[in-house]
């Protein structure tokens, strides 16, 4: 079922890419939602994204069902295995353990701004990055990427110096393609900042450190 829907989404994706290329020659992108309804190309892109997302949700559902049956069969100390496994996974998500894996390393030397860095992070998250550091600072959900008054970028309250090096663990080809596509983020940065030195290199294995700060809840309480 999964491979079937993946195939379908790939077919749609190719079709959408074709349409987008055609559309680039024909029309200007910024159109008002209030004046125009959703275009066919846009519909297809939404369909393709929903197909992919539903496949991922089904995958998650199957994994949860497997987990549930593990817990239902486990008694006493046998619970330890699945419990620790779950704990480790969520710690990876939270950036609170050291991780290793393949991915891409992006190096940027130039006067890019904090919004550019935030866009880069968003782009990588959009293509499934699993763990990410900037100049060795691990990004968590709560990480703040901002700049000082003189324009230096800070991550997790640590001031970074150039070049900015992003290490991203995930599917290397997917991330590389997304970053380097025509009209993509790197191309836009190169257009906006003359003489910007950028490289995107695939890596077989990188080791990313954990986030060392603490995340405390003062205002939010869980709902049972």
């Amino acid at each position: 079922m999964r491979s079937h829907s993946t195939q379908w989404s790939l077919t749609i994706l190719c079709f959408v890419l074709g349409l987008l290329l055609m559309a680039q020659f024909r029309t200007q992108w910024m159109t008002s939602r209030t004046l125009l309804t959703t275009s066919s190309a846009e519909q297809l892109a939404i369909i393709s994204s929903l197909v992919e997302n539903n496949a991922r949700l089904r995958e998650e559902m199957e994994a949860l069902e497997k987990q549930l049956s593990e817990y239902q069969q486990a008694t006493g100390r046998a619970v330890l295995g699945p419990l620790v496994e779950e704990l480790n996974k969520v710690k990876i998500i939270n950036g609170l353990v050291e991780v290793s894996g393949p991915g891409v390393e992006v190096s940027i030397d130039g006067p890019i701004g904090v919004l550019d860095v935030q866009d880069l992070i968003n782009e990588l998250r959009n293509v499934g990055v699993e763990a990410l550091t900037i100049n060795g600072e691990r990004l968590t959900l709560y990480s703040v990427v901002t700049s000082t008054e003189d324009g230096a970028i800070t991550v997790n309250a640590t001031q970074l110096s150039r070049p900015y090096i992003l290490q991203a663990i995930g599917q290397p080809e997917t991330m590389e393609t997304a970053l380097l596509r025509r009209g993509g983020l790197i191309a836009t940065l190169e257009r906006n900042y003359e003489g910007l030195a950028v490289s995107v290199v695939k890596r077989e294995k990188m080791v990313l450190p954990l986030y060392k700060g603490a995340i405390e809840f003062v205002y939010a309480s869980p709902i049972e």
Binding site: S39, R77, V79, A131, L141, Q171
Partner: protein, 207 residues
């Protein structure tokens, strides 16, 4: 734009969204069931109980737990001006995905502890992007008005949002073009848990 094709596209989107909704609800239910089972099983020994407590704490950080607390609600909406002057840039009358991203980033900067946009909880893997003019969060289609709810210190949150150094473009669009940008303090917000997956296929524990 061929009418029937367009209509079948819209139909496919609605069908896929219904399926997405169903899957998310299913995931939410099974996670609740898991939490219950786990808690019962872990009650056996002190060590298991401790590990489970740690797991619940980590899940709260990841956005896998619904939360309640004080904070702010930010409303963003496209301009309601009916006729955009022919010479004007229509995009100046709209809220874009980067506007939402900027507000969310500022809210984290203000120390927010949990954020949701139109009931989609923001988590570590969330991207806020657009397909044409449609905003997608957690691969879910959102439509305006956008309600950003953030649990945290509402004074710090409000201060940062009203600081003239930030959100310059949104504030200009609000002033000149009728785009809506509103911040309300709320005593008690309720944010849903994230109901998607966290696919981890490449990252491994340790080196």
């Amino acid at each position: 734009m061929p009418g029937t094709e367009h209509e079948s596209g819209a139909l496919a989107i609605r069908r896929l969204e219904a399926e997405q909704q169903e899957l998310k609800e299913g995931i939410g239910r099974i996670r609740e069931q898991l939490d219950k089972n786990r808690r019962e099983l872990a009650a056996d020994t002190e060590m298991l109980k401790e590990i489970n407590m740690e797991l619940e704490r980590q899940k709260m950080m990841a956005g896998l737990v619904a939360v309640t607390g004080p904070g702010v609600q930010v409303t963003l909406d496209d301009s309601n001006i009916q006729s955009v002057p022919a010479t004007a840039d229509p995009s100046a009358y709209l809220i874009h995905e980067y506007d939402l991203r900027d507000v969310v980033n500022l809210l984290w900067m203000a120390g927010s502890e949990a954020i949701a946009v139109n009931d989609e909880r923001i988590v570590a893997t969330t991207s806020i992007y657009c397909v044409g003019s449609t905003v997608m969060v957690n691969d879910t289609r959102l439509s305006p008005p956008y309600l950003i709810q953030a649990v945290g210190n509402s004074v710090a949150q409000e201060d940062i949002l009203s600081n003239p150094a930030y959100l310059k473009e949104i504030k200009r669009k609000a002033e000149l073009h009728g785009v809506q940008f509103k911040v309300d303090r709320v005593k008690k917000l309720t944010l849903p848990a994230y109901k998607g997956g966290f696919p981890i296929h490449y990252a491994q524990l340790g080196d």
